[in-house]
């Protein structure tokens, strides 16, 4: 049985699945219920000077009938008094001493930081997460992402916290920045023990096209919110990779962004996350999703022979590199398994209109079977990813694999196109139809 317990900068939890600081961790009731369901840790809804919230607060982004591929919110930090939260943290820790309770904090002055850090430590918090990520409302007041976007300010505040902290300090980063490694490095320089990312992405969920107001609507007006949910995962994974690979970011990472099942969690861990945090999926489906996550992760680790999370952490990092290091000689071509084709022709039209006109359709026994024109196929994957049938279109390697030539190699050998009509252009010799032929279709 693989060991799925996690240890983030000294904060231990029975499994790597934490609830992110968000509405699901607004109260002791919710956190207790989550731990009871199997969650390993919880980052409390951000504490500070309590706020006043608006109604409504969330905007959903759907894809056809699939609800909430994205979730946008304009709720602020806790609107409950600190004393109530502290009492509940204490109570949760009493029932669940081995689970991780992390206090997310957001205040302004050094004195406030000192006070609140001491308060939550006294209540029994196992760690502290500094909310330098919230991109709506709080940032207008100089907190949240306003801090995360200024590495120097961030470093200073981490320093203030470290002056009094006795438990590990996690610095939560905003993705609303050009290069996330800058605040990540600053977090380390300020003395932080770990980073967590990503916080939400600034967003408008959509627009009510009858009343001309973006969602969510508050008395006829809206405001930018923070975007999360499955749709943000690719953005978060890239930022995770950037931090995990950076030689000057030497902090363990808690991964956040669009995680809703064990597979998502595995992807985060393979890209260097020590544990993961979940919010939107719980807001959508409740705490019960943990029942799928724990056995899924365990079974995967058993299948792969991983004894613990450390053995798998970061295994995909070695396989992410700069574009200039990719092998230009590697050549794949789409191959269509005729017996699996259902005749939708989505591959044909995708290639025809959206790629390289490398598929033709022929009739065969009344079935319309698409066929790859190998000379035109650039091996882009588009047909394979639009095909609604699993394993119907596969990409097959055609080069001999003997020689690796990268852009960097070619640049060093002075063998790259440098002028507008350079004969070294990759598209030279690649067939394209005559523009006028388009009108015959």
């Amino acid at each position: 049985m693989p060991d799925i317990s996690a240890n983030l900068a000294g904060i231990k939890s029975p499994n790597p699945f934490w609830l992110a600081s968000a509405p699901p961790t607004n109260s002791g009731y919710q956190v207790m219920k989550a731990f009871d369901a199997g969650w390993g840790g919880a980052v409390w809804k951000t504490l500070g000077v309590p706020v006043v919230n608006v109604s409504s607060r969330y905007g959903g982004v759907n894809y056809r009938n699939n609800r909430l591929i994205g979730l946008n919110n304009i709720e602020l930090i806790t609107d409950r008094p600190l004393a109530d939260n502290l009492r509940e943290i204490e109570e949760v820790k009493k029932y669940f001493p081995d689970h991780a309770v992390i206090a997310s904090l957001m205040v302004e002055s050094r004195a406030e930081w000192h006070q609140i850090v001491k308060d939550v430590q006294n209540a029994g918090a196992d760690g502290i997460e500094l909310n330098f990520g919230c991109p709506h409302g709080m940032c207008e007041r100089g907190m949240g992402s306003a801090v995360g976007q200024e590495p120097e300010v961030l470093k200073t505040i981490v320093g203030w916290v470290k002056e009094v902290s006795t438990v590990p300090v996690i610095v939560k980063l905003t993705p609303n920045i050009s290069d996330i490694t800058e605040p990540a490095i600053a977090a380390g320089e300020g003395g932080g023990d770990a980073i967590s990312l990503i916080n939400t992405i600034q967003s408008l969920a959509g627009v009510d096209i009858d009343n001309f107001v973006p969602y969510p609507i508050v008395d006829g007006k809206s405001s930018n919110g923070g975007y999360c949910g499955p749709a943000v995962k690719p953005i978060a994974l890239n930022m995770l990779k950037n931090c995990a690979q950076h030689p000057n970011v030497n902090l363990p990472i808690s991964g956040i962004g669009g995680i809703e099942n064990w597979r998502d969690a595995v992807e985060y861990i393979l890209l260097g996350a020590t544990n993961v945090q979940v919010c939107a999926a719980v807001m959508h489906f409740g705490f019960g999703i943990i029942r799928e996550m724990i056995p899924g992760l365990t079974n995967y680790m058993a299948d792969k022979g991983f004894k613990n999370l450390a053995e798998m952490r970061g295994l995909a990092l070695a396989n992410v590199t700069d574009w200039e290091n990719l092998n230009l000689n590697y050549k794949v071509i789409a191959e269509i398994e005729e017996s699996k084709c259902i005749g939708c022709q989505l591959c044909y039209i995708a290639c025809e209109d959206g790629a390289h006109q490398a598929i033709e359709v022929s009739e065969k026994n009344g079935l319309r079977i698409p066929k790859i024109i190998e000379d035109n196929c650039v091996g882009c994957n588009l047909c394979a990813i639009v095909c609604p049938v699993e394993e119907c279109i596969t990409m097959v390697r055609k080069d001999d694999g003997k020689q690796v030539v990268t852009w960097r190699d070619r640049t060093e050998a002075d063998n790259v196109p440098t002028t507008f009509n350079d004969e070294l252009a990759g598209g030279i010799g690649h067939w394209v139809p005559d523009p006028k032929d388009a009108l015959k279709k």
Binding site: R64, N65, N66, I342, G343, C344, Q345, L346, Y348, I349, V361, R368, P388, V389
Partner: protein, 440 residues
């Protein structure tokens, strides 16, 4: 034990004849429209006789452009609402859906089509502008799917159109001949009203065209004449006993059921002769009207029935019992039907032959002949130079639907011998184009 009790009230009738393709609600339509893959050059569209751009109208439902969706449907098929319910979608669009290749249920195209076209009708949405008048007049005989479709298209092209209808209401077999669990009278007639309001053709009801004088009058008053008369009454079997009480043609039974079901009394023990789609309807309807036992007798083998498989399944599901390889010799009874005398058949060298000495009597108190409809030859013979084929179907040009008498055009059952509403709708529209070419 029969599945259905004899209906004694309107409510019980409606329960027994509940719609097999009920109207979708918004959620169903949204989820179902989300499933469409938007295939390129889609098989469903190719399978539709009217060539509706199905992926487009479904995508328009999904993005809630219901007006655009309805226009996509109606610009291809003026019977868009009825066809959503009465089309044999299992063998047309839905049968061609690529999901079926994966053993996944096809997108419910028919019900989606009905959903969005019902909205257009409910809101009386004006989807078309009739064409600028070209001063020419066309007469249409018969207000069935072929005639109405021809009329709508002609109005778009700027013609004045008068439709001559023998009965007192429009749509032909759509209202008179389709099983009530497929579509209600109200639904059919509401679409007809919707079309007439929008296209502004004239329908002259109770105006049968029967005699040479009628035709001559039309020829004088109109530049072209479209024949959309469909078929006639149920063909005779030419066996003894067909005129006994309680021996009825399937077409006549269904019409009575649709027009005055309160007055329709079916037997307790019914035998339906035939195994086409109309036979299945008649059998199923008898069961739903409370018949305790319904047998469907066919002279050929089970594998050779003409009905669609799903139609036979529908009949079987309401308790209809199929009896195959039996050929009727005589309908027995004094004044009233008491049974049918059959002889067994078998296939020998590809020929269906009777098995000597295998006669038997199947007792019953009602016989429904579902042995096809006759052609309306009497009228057609009065049209000068009008050629019929060996089956008495009107011969027409495959592109223009022009008959051998240049002034006459024809489509629908009278030409194809009896197909679906959707075929007549497609061909009637196409014929209007032929008329336009002829007159311009």
């Amino acid at each position: 034990m029969s599945e259905f009790k004899k209906p004694t009230s309107e409510q019980e009738f409606e329960e027994n004849f509940s719609q097999i393709k009920p109207l979708m609600n918004d959620t169903e339509a949204y989820i179902e429209s989300s499933r469409c893959l938007f295939c390129f050059d889609a098989p469903c569209q190719q399978a539709c006789p009217t060539g509706i751009d199905i992926p487009l109208f479904i995508r328009q439902i999904n993005s809630t452009d219901y007006t655009g969706s309805a226009r996509t449907i109606y610009s291809a098929n003026f019977f868009g609402n009825a066809c959503g319910k009465v089309c044999p979608t299992e063998v047309l669009c839905e049968g061609a859906c690529v999901y079926t290749e994966q053993n996944v249920l096809p997108v419910e195209i028919g019900r989606l089509q009905n959903y969005v076209s019902t909205q257009a009708i409910n809101e009386d949405k004006k989807l078309f502008e009739v064409g600028k008048s070209n001063g020419k007049k066309v007469a249409i005989i018969g207000s069935g799917p072929a005639g109405i479709s021809c009329a709508c298209e002609l109005r778009l092209l700027g013609y004045e159109v008068d439709i001559y209808e023998a009965k007192h209401r429009p749509s032909g077999l759509t209202v008179h001949g389709v099983a009530p669990y497929k579509i209600t009278n109200e639904e059919v007639l509401r679409e007809m009203e919707y079309l007439q309001r929008q296209f502004g053709y004239e329908v002259k009801y109770n105006s049968p065209i029967k005699y040479a004088a009628d035709l001559q009058k039309l020829e004088k008053e109109y530049e072209a004449i479209f024949i959309g008369i469909g078929l006639g009454s149920t063909s005779s079997l030419n066996i003894k006993g067909e005129s006994l009480d309680n021996c009825i043609g399937a077409t006549e039974l269904i019409e009575k059921l649709r027009m005055q079901h309160h007055n329709l009394v079916v037997g307790k023990n019914v035998v339906v002769l035939g195994a086409g789609n109309t036979a299945m309807d008649a059998a199923s309807e008898s069961a739903r009207m409370g018949a305790e036992k319904v047998s469907l007798a066919y002279r050929g083998a089970k594998e050779s029935i003409r009905a669609y498989e799903f139609e036979y399944d529908l009949a079987k599901n309401v308790g209809v019992n199929g009896v195959f390889n039996v050929s009727p010799l005589e309908i027995i009874g004094d004044d009233k039907v008491a049974g049918v005398k059959f002889i067994r058949t078998k296939t020998d060298n590809g020929q269906l032959i009777q098995v000597e000495g295998s006669e038997f009597i199947l007792a019953c108190d009602m016989v429904i002949r579902a042995t096809g409809q006759s052609k309306q030859v009497e009228l057609l013979e009065q049209i000068e130079g009008l050629e019929l084929d060996s089956l008495n179907r009107i011969s027409v040009d495959a592109q223009t639907y022009q008959t051998s008498n240049a002034k006459y055009f024809a489509a629908g059952d009278a030409v194809n011998g009896g197909k679906e509403v959707v075929n007549a709708a497609a061909d009637g529209k196409q014929a209007a184009r032929g008329i336009d070419t002829y007159l311009s």
